[in-house]
């Protein structure tokens, strides 16, 4: 999934701005998809790739800040870079608080934009990996039986086989069998690995 080429999505109502930024990014072999307003972008809302969204703050209809809100409602994982004609500090603070990666002022230099886009790609990859890990962890935990999950919950809290056996009213030998099944199903190599997997399955992303 992550081997797809990273993409920059540009949402700006100005044709000339979209065009010039597209040319600039394509010189760096970055794929660009541009949209003239928030509605068109939301309808095409892409998923499952590394990328970032460059959003113009001042747009007719739904503006940049509203688009950011709408995207977080839709569990967007793409980092957002804002572009604005006349940015002010309160506006940029609000945007960053709401999870924007950067807040750039027009006209933007190539260097600034590329720096921002590159760090956005790294962030995007990280977020995507987290999502994948979580999905894997959730899938493996979902394959456990109810008894196995009970054993696992106690084990990751540091309970010994003896304690688990007496707590669940089963024999020491049965606990060992359950544990071996748990390690096999989740692919965990040891107890620490199992703790990581259970934590990942509970992570928000």
């Amino acid at each position: 999934m992550t081997n797809l080429a990273p993409v920059v999505f540009i949402v700006d109502d100005e044709l000339s701005v979209r065009d010039s930024l597209t040319l600039m990014l394509e010189q760096e072999d970055i794929s660009v998809q541009s949209y003239e307003n928030a509605d068109v972008f939301l309808r095409a809302f892409p998923q499952d790739c590394i990328g970032c969204i460059i959003i113009d703050v001042n747009m007719p209809g739904m503006d940049g800040m509203q688009l950011q809100e709408e995207l977080s409602r839709r569990n967007n994982t793409f980092p957002i870079i804002f572009l604005t004609g006349h940015g002010n500090i309160p506006m940029s603070v609000q945007a960053i608080k709401n999870g924007a990666l950067d807040f750039l002022t027009k006209p933007v230099t190539r260097k600034t934009l590329l720096n921002s886009v590159r760090s956005a790609f790294l962030e995007s990859e990280k977020r995507l990996n987290q999502v994948e890990h979580k999905q894997t962890a959730m899938r493996s935990i979902a394959s456990l039986t109810e008894r196995e999950r009970e054993v696992m919950n106690l084990a990751v809290q540091g309970a010994s086989n003896k304690v688990i056996a007496s707590r669940l009213g089963i024999s020491h030998r049965t606990v060992e069998v359950h544990k071996s099944n748990i390690m096999h199903k989740t692919g965990a190599s040891n107890l620490i690995d199992l703790v990581r997997i259970t934590r990942e399955s509970e992570l928000d992303s």
Partner: protein
């Protein structure tokens, strides 16, 4: 004399009188009291006949009355007591009554009798009380309002004034003053204006109303006070006789007025600053987009040159973009400057139908598309006279506003209707632009053409103000139809070319 009268005795007549009557002998002792008198004073006949007249008076008057009684006996006559004023008499229960008392005498061979007649003056008393109360109210009102009263004798040039008035002039002592004394405390700069007001008032052909404001310099402490006066002149035989009026210290109001004026000036200054800031930000807004594109295109070209990777098509595209955007920035700047300076504009013959179509395609290209358009054009419309860029700008502005309003309101099928009509009587073309958005409420409709008024989150609020100014500069008018039921409906006119 009629015989029947002979049978009528004194006592019966005395008793039948409506007024209270007493028969008193020289010593002052009461010898007879009629029933009205018994009722008035609250005594039985036996009881009252043991008293002297003095006993029916308040204690403090008794001694003096004995003296008056002696005087009367020396020269008895019919007359009123107390020179026509009501006198106090004492009821049995101790309450004082105000009574008109008159005296007359009857002489027999043996001795002199005095008949004392009492009439209650309650009615009179109530009128006096009411008068007193009203004077008291007037005094209190005067005091509360800080009013002084003056009465100027226009013939003898003497002014009578009350205490409040004297306080305003800083002279507590004199009840009258000469006209010259009155003038001497008025601020020299205000004398001429006050004199003119006075002359107007005493002019018999005028309405006699006097009203003046002037400063008075208190002679004792040198403090300046603003005085407002108003009054009315009374004429006699065509000449001003008296000027009666009121004066008030309005120093505080004057100070307040001055302060308000200063505040207003300050507000105006702030507003101008605001206008400057907004204008600058409008310019920045107009220039930022093209600058952004030019900057990015240029860097694209630079990068291509330094990496020797010459894709001719892309380079051409970037360079064309630069030129186009630089031109666009220049145009925006000229328009804005032309608007701000109201400079000369180039006027030409324009085909409205084509201009409307051009504006629509500009709006579509600028990301404001996605609406249905209903066109009611007039194919054979004569050319109008105006500046092409400006009229185009107004059209684009109206269309963009319509699109934004409909987007904000999430109208499902956005529609803009544009119709062109001919106004024969004024030789004008009329363009009507109507959307199917939420329209404007009354408050918004009133303010929509004000500079910096906006309903958009990121709006500057110059669009309609500029649009109206541009249409007016081209000899037409731009207005909002206040009665539009569905959506906002703008009208503008332009003159036909001669």
């Amino acid at each position: 004399m009629d015989d029947s009268l002979k049978n009528l005795n004194f006592r019966a007549i005395f008793d039948a009188a409506v007024e209270a009557k007493l028969l008193v002998v020289a010593s002052g002792r009461i010898v007879l009291a009629n029933s009205s008198a018994q009722l008035l004073f609250g005594y039985s006949e036996d009881e009252i006949c043991k008293l002297t007249v003095e006993m029916l008076m308040p204690t403090q008057h008794r001694e003096q009355h004995k003296h008056y009684r002696a005087l009367f006996l020396k020269k008895p006559s019919k007359r009123a007591m107390g020179d026509g004023k009501a006198l106090a008499a004492l009821h049995r229960d101790g309450t004082e009554m105000l009574l008109d008392i008159s005296l007359s005498s009857v002489e027999t061979e043996e001795q002199l009798f005095v008949i004392v007649t009492f009439v209650a003056t309650d009615q009179l008393l109530r009128v006096e009380e009411a008068l007193q109360a009203s004077e008291e109210r007037l005094r209190m009102a005067k005091q509360a309002a800080g009013l002084g009263i003056f009465d100027c004798d226009c013939v003898n040039k003497v002014i009578y004034w009350d205490k409040s008035m004297r306080r305003l002039w800083g002279d507590e002592v004199h009840e009258t003053l000469t006209y010259n004394d009155f003038l001497s405390v008025i601020h020299p700069e205000d004398r001429a204006a006050r004199k003119a007001a006075y002359n107007r008032a005493i002019d018999p052909s005028g309405n006699g109303e006097y009203s003046a404001e002037f400063r008075v310099i208190n002679p004792t402490n040198g403090v300046e006070h603003w005085i407002a006066t108003s009054g009315r002149v009374h004429f006699e035989a065509g000449h001003a006789r008296r000027l009666v009026g009121v004066a008030q210290d309005v120093t505080e109001q004057k100070m307040l007025q001055k302060k308000l004026q200063e505040q207003r000036a300050e507000t105006e200054c702030l507003f101008k600053q605001q206008v400057a800031t907004r204008t600058a930000s409008a310019i920045a807004h107009e220039l930022n987009q093209p600058l952004t594109a030019i900057s990015a295109y240029s860097e694209v070209i630079l990068h291509a040159l330094s990496n020797k990777e010459m894709d001719a098509d892309k380079l051409t595209r970037a360079l064309e973009g630069c030129v186009e955007q630089a031109q666009r920035a220049g145009r925006s700047l000229h328009e804005l400057l032309a608007f701000l300076q109201k400079g000369e504009i180039k006027s030409e013959q324009l085909g409205l139908n084509n201009l409307i179509k051009e504006a629509l395609s500009m709006v579509h290209n600028d990301g404001f598309g996605g609406f249905q358009q209903v066109l009611n054009l007039q194919p054979d419309l004569p050319a109008v006279q105006g500046n092409r860029t400006q009229v185009l700008k107004v059209l684009v502005n109206l269309f963009r506003n319509a699109v934004e309003a409909m987007r904000i309101a999430s109208v499902s099928v956005s529609t803009i209707s544009i119709s062109v009509q001919t106004l024969a009587e004024t030789n004008m073309a009329l363009v009507i632009v109507q959307d199917n958005g939420p329209g404007l409420d009354n408050d918004m409709a009133k303010r929509i053409f004000e500079p910096f008024f906006t309903t958009k989150p990121a709006g500057i609020g110059m669009g309609l103000a500029i649009s109206r100014a541009l249409i007016e500069a081209n000899g037409g008018q731009l207005w909002l139809d206040p009665d539009s039921k569905a959506g906002a409906k703008f009208h503008f006119t332009l003159p036909f070319a001669q």
